[in-house]
Assembly symmetry: C2
Homo-oligomer: 304 residues x 2
DNA sequence: GGATGTCCATAACCCATGGCTATCACAACA
DNA sequence: TGTTGTGATAGCCATGGGTTATGGACATCC
């Protein structure tokens, strides 16, 4: 039923040499091993492949029929191996860069330039990742590196280079008292203390530290936020804010996903900024990945 | 280096199912066996073929590269097996008929007709065999059946059907006294007793009973032939007779090989005739062989 | 004609391979 | 929270594919 490539190699060698001993030498096996294998192949096919007269070996009709196929398959396998090798190298040189929204700021071309100057064969590939995955494809391996907003769930599973820090925003209904009032200062921002009486939209409890971060829990002192609802996506957040269930903190980069129609976003002063970072999986030591992180660190340092 | 067809089958199955358990079922092996084999293939190629995320299996780039080659090779092997099968059947239906000179007498068409009427698929193939092999290819397996002159060396290794009996001839120089004289009777033959004083050409001693037969030893009574020389082929016989070293007995069918220029051949009366037979190897029970022998026996009986 | 060489087959042995069953780990789901 | 589905792991065993040593049948050479 199946065939082992080795048997075809052996068969072809004997067919060429028409001499078991020489063929065995060429194949770097002992002559009995070769004899045995050929015989097993003959048994498998149900017909002898060689006439072994006393002093001479020659192909039978069946052997003649098999030989071209055998040669063809050996060549095919060589081609297959080459294709695999090529794919491996392509994979080697490909760097999949995940992102949910473009990081903008000219970051991508800058990093790309640095990467290819160091690894001319590198092929950076951009990949759009649905917003539901905050790791932008790192978690499931569909990205090698990714632009992410810190903090990240399971944050210790990744290594980072921070690219930019920018104030968190608060999403409000356009009709909200804080949206129109003098609460918005000369810089177009609101104070976090002005938000303390508002109901907040929170991520589900299983989001862990991520939930705490987007409630800015460390800025509440001894007070506790009032939770106006639980949201798990940009879409839900938009809906909940528009319906007046509460306000929500946002990374600047995610604002475009939430701000539209009746929802606006305003920078918040008095809480730590959110951070845009390039991340990779912890322990991923592939040269391209490390180079991209290093490039990100350099560019990030310069930008700050 | 080499590849086992089974591994390609396994790989293709998993690539189609994208599910190890189901693929294993389809292949009639256990799931662990399949997992192990795939992993070994991956090790051999130096790259994973499948992404195994928690719940899903999908091809890697390398896997994608390999898959078409794998399918191609599986198809190639099927084709090769079919070719072998076809060759086997052709061999099955082929009957190689050895002969040193054509038996003539319309025997070949007669036997052919009988054979194909019984086995319509049979393909009788005529094969000319050099005179040095009195078994006309039976001994070395290059013929399945053969037209031979009895007796044969190692005669018990063959089975026969006698087709015709005809007087043995004696080869003489054209200038020999027996050639021109009244020794040649009304039937154009000579009496063996007229030859008793001639030197005889003999086959080499290792020819055994064959040597005795062609000296007609049983017809000498208490006399013994005088050996004029030893010959091992038709060519040598021609030379020796032409040189006057002696006379030689011949089968009628072999006369054309010896008679030319200064050598003639004359039937001999008073010794047993030589026999033309169809022979096969003793113990060869292949239907086509037996059918040909049977046909020969029928035709031979009718001819006599 | 006996010694020697060539060549394929056989025998006896060894260990890596490829199969099995049982079981685990983990996510999804009811 | 128990159940189900899926792939990985562990431990076991038969077989396959290799080895060396040897045999037997011819050629060839001195």
């Amino acid at each position: 039923m199946d065939i082992h490539g080795r048997d075809l190699r052996y068969f072809a060698a004997v067919a060429e040499e028409l001499n078991f001993t020489r063929a065995a030498g060429r194949l770097f096996v002992s002559q009995p091993a070769l004899s045995k294998q050929i015989r097993m192949l003959e048994n498998q096919l149900g017909a002898p492949l060689f006439h072994r007269d006393r002093r001479t070996v020659r192909l039978t009709a069946v052997g003649e029929a098999l030989l071209p196929h055998a040669r063809g398959m050996l060549a095919s396998w060589q081609a297959a191996e080459a294709a695999v090798q090529q794919a491996r190298e392509a994979e080697q040189h490909t760097l999949v860069i995940g992102m949910s929204t473009s990081p903008g700021r000219g970051l991508l071309p800058a990093l790309r330039t640095r990467l290819v100057s160091q690894y001319p064969d590198a092929r950076p590939v951009l990949r759009q990742v649905p917003w539901v995955d905050p790791s932008a494809g790192l978690a499931d391996g569909s990205s090698d590196v990714a632009f992410v907003w810190l903090p990240l769930p399971d944050g210790d599973r990744y290594q980072y280079a921070v690219m930019a820090r920018e104030p968190r925003l608060v999403a409000l209904p356009r009709t909200h008292r804080l949206a129109a009032r003098a609460a918005i200062d000369s810089e177009g921002a609101v104070d976090f203390t002005d938000l303390l009486d508002e109901p907040f939209l929170a991520l589900p409890p299983e989001a862990g530290p991520l939930r705490d971060y987007w409630l800015a829990l460390d800025a509440w002192g001894d007070r506790a936020p009032r939770i106006g609802g639980v949201v798990a996506s940009a879409e839900e957040t938009h809906e909940a804010v528009a319906n007046g269930q509460g306000v929500a903190l946002l990374a600047a980069g995610n604002a475009p996903l939430v701000v539209r129609d009746e929802v606006i976003a305003v920078p918040v002063r008095g809480i730590s900024p959110s951070q845009l970072a390039v991340a990779a999986r912890q322990g991923d030591k592939r040269p391209l990945v490390l180079a991209y992180l290093a490039a990100a660190a350099k560019v990030g340092a310069k930008a700050r």
